[in-house]
Symmetry: C2
């Protein structure tokens, strides 16, 4: 049986998961594919972690990634460090050394894909990155292969398990944002510094990758309108439910004649929408196309075991190519197609319905004041609710609007928030129709 040799760089949660999965299911994989996948080297900056690995005498353990990259016996480098530095240099050096690369690094792929894929093409090696979006969900492979015959027009979904866990907790237990975050950290679903997840940036990285593959259009994560979930409160989820909605952090990209709409933000979606049933750390992605209609892929969006299945899936695919067609004449995935720089729509021009929660003093004329400012900016009201009554004190006033221009909404809210009867920044949540 042919065998293919692997070096894993970065032994964090996913790195250890990949190491364990190959150890555990190696013989099953060999049986399924006829190829033996062997981890012959691991690298991590933490020597304690290296020491903890029991891999027999032959296993190379090193704190220098370059030792693996330079090793002539290694066919595939698995990069699981994350972030740009030093991951980018490591990946580029591996490619230069004609190593295939498998990575779960969404930031790296979303920001440096041009450089990486042009080097991969030059060196005739693969770069696979299924685990960079949606954990175990085979979304990248599906867009790259199964749905290739169609013109995709929309990709949207829940791409971050941490924020979905927090929103689910708040919805189900009516707890505060910070309580839910603490629980997520305790359970290992959120980092000590949760900024990347909470802010929506992690979702934006993933959305940039999906946009590249779906529309052949490059969108830097910095170009994506991104809003996090830190201002969502239990009362918003309760209000949303009352009107038949749930609140999810959605990543949305739509190809339209006017350009590409691309945004990440908390969103009210109908409680009957399949995405409303996606709870906890689960992820889900909808893909819409002219021919395919609407398709959904759902699964664990994070976690050692599910994510490692996607990484090992990539490893096996490359290993099979090596075993079948030799090490040297491989034709990597053609990302040339995705080199386009189509127009991105300005968020201010996009028309969406909104959920607004004002913290206003309960006194006559307040609602009229808010309504007249909204009307000035051509924003029409669909529903108003002011359930609490506490004369002279601050109460929530919730308004659902019809479709309005984002730019107009921003101006209206700025003006309203300056009024003396508004005591806190208004909560603005977009609604997906």
């Amino acid at each position: 049986m042919k065998s293919v040799n692997i070096g894993i760089i970065g032994l964090g949660t996913i790195g250890m998961g990949v190491y364990d999965a190959i150890k555990k299911n190696g013989s099953l994989i060999a049986k399924k594919t006829g190829v033996s996948v062997k981890v012959i080297g691991v690298a991590d900056k933490d020597k304690k972690v290296l020491k903890g690995i029991k891999g027999g005498k032959a296993l190379i353990k090193t704190s220098s990634p370059r030792e693996l990259i330079a090793n002539k016996d290694i066919d595939i480098i698995v990069e699981l460090i994350g972030g740009i530095k030093p991951a980018k240099d490591i990946v580029l050096e591996a490619l230069k050394n004609k190593k295939h690369v498998v990575t779960a690094n969404k930031e790296l792929i979303s920001k440096c894909w041009r450089e990486i894929f042009s080097s991969a093409r030059k060196n005739k090696v693969f770069v696979d990155f299924e685990a960079s979006v949606g954990g175990v969900i085979p979304i990248i492979r599906t867009i790259r292969t199964g749905f290739r015959a169609d013109k995709i027009d929309t990709v949207y979904g829940i791409l971050n398990g941490t924020t979905n866990f927090i929103l689910t907790e708040i919805a189900e237990k009516a707890c505060s944002f910070s309580e839910a975050l603490k629980l997520a950290q305790k359970k290992g679903f959120a980092e000590k510094d949760p900024e990347l997840d909470i802010s929506g940036k992690d979702s934006a990285h993933k959305l940039a990758i999906l946009t590249l593959l779906s529309f052949g259009q490059s969108a830097s994560p910095d170009d994506i309108f991104t809003e996090g979930i830190n201002r969502i409160e239990a009362q918003d989820l309760i209000n949303a439910k009352m009107w038949g909605y749930s609140i999810k952090l959605l990543a949305i990209a739509k190809k339209e004649p006017k350009g590409l709409q691309i945004r990440v933000h908390p969103t009210l979606i109908s409680a009957r929408h399949l995405l409303s049933d996606v709870k906890g750390t689960d992820n889900a992605v909808f893909v819409k196309g002219e021919l395919i209609g609407e398709s959904l892929l759902f699964g664990k969006g994070a976690g050692r075991k599910p994510t490692s299945v996607s990484v090992v899936g990539d490893i096996i695919e490359i290993a099979e190519h090596i075993a079948h067609y030799g090490k040297r004449n491989l034709v990597p995935y053609n990302l040339n197609y995705a080199a386009g720089n189509g127009k991105l729509r300005n968020i201010n021009d996009i028309e969406i319905p909104f959920y607004l929660r004002f913290s206003a003093i309960d006194k006559p004329g307040v609602l009229a004041g808010i309504a007249s400012i909204l009307s000035k900016y051509k924003i029409s009201i669909a529903n108003v609710s002011q359930e609490e009554r506490k004369a002279g004190q601050v109460v929530p006033v919730v308004i659902l609007t019809h479709k309005a221009k984002e730019g107009n909404m921003q101006k209206a809210i700025k003006e309203i928030d300056k009024k003396s009867y508004v005591k806190k920044k208004t909560v603005v949540i977009r609604i997906e129709g």
Copy 2:
């Protein structure tokens, strides 16, 4: 640009869809892949259909499939006739002639896969069949590639669009089975002779294919316990809803220490389960594994356009291989793995909860009679409902049971149905926990 030539055999709904999709999106496909896919021949027994195709002078139109199989310029034969005869002979002859084959034929793959894949291996050509299960849903590719690193233990889902449409109609409009079937036929969702769909056989063919790929275990469709939907009435869907369930035709395969459980039948599932939201002609498949947890793939299960995307996706994958690695040295998918003949569990030994609807005369002692027979067979009751009262006349008595052995249930129902107070065959629907 390299080009790969296609011959399509069978110009029914899907065949025409594939022809149109390649025509419509050919340049997009070439841009994405760097390979030009060309249909150079079509075959159909109906000469009128052939005449209707406008393909330019170079297009071969023939009523003889063998003309395409013998054509030296054709690289890939797309078989879209369906059924065993003459599809099997056509496919085997194409393989012998070293043509790659793409097919959507679930009956053929589920029943004749050994012969077909052994010939494919011998002749070093691919046989791809993504469209044979779940229309546009990339379930076959996902099990074959993305989820390959895991040990899958359960596959279950809604694999037939016709029956799901009918059950959705009955649930939403409280119409009769035959009214719903008529509508399905009118809309083109059911064949004139709907037996293959209604009886659950179509789902069984698909489940046999998924079982082969997921567990490496061969299960002939004839070995699968299969029950259709023709006895479901509106009142069953209403009763189910009252208890928080919906009714779906599920195809279920579970790998257990005692053997493989494999069955197709109408099933009560919780209204909160994602499958309950799968309506109309949509399909959905859950895959569960040790590492991946629970994953769902959802999309259009039938129809010209979605299914053609899966067929063309297969065509492109093969075309890329040909373009990259030449026509002659390709290594097709290894189905050796799937040659196992593991043990199938006897349906009578399986323990499941049940929904029972008796048509019994409304008189004292009837419920006691039913209950005592159930108890004799160790079937314990979870819920009883007899909403209507019509002394001396036939009324429905609905019982939900705890887990009971299928074999015992069959015996109990046989005995109950012989009682003079039971006037119609009892409706038995299994519940999925």
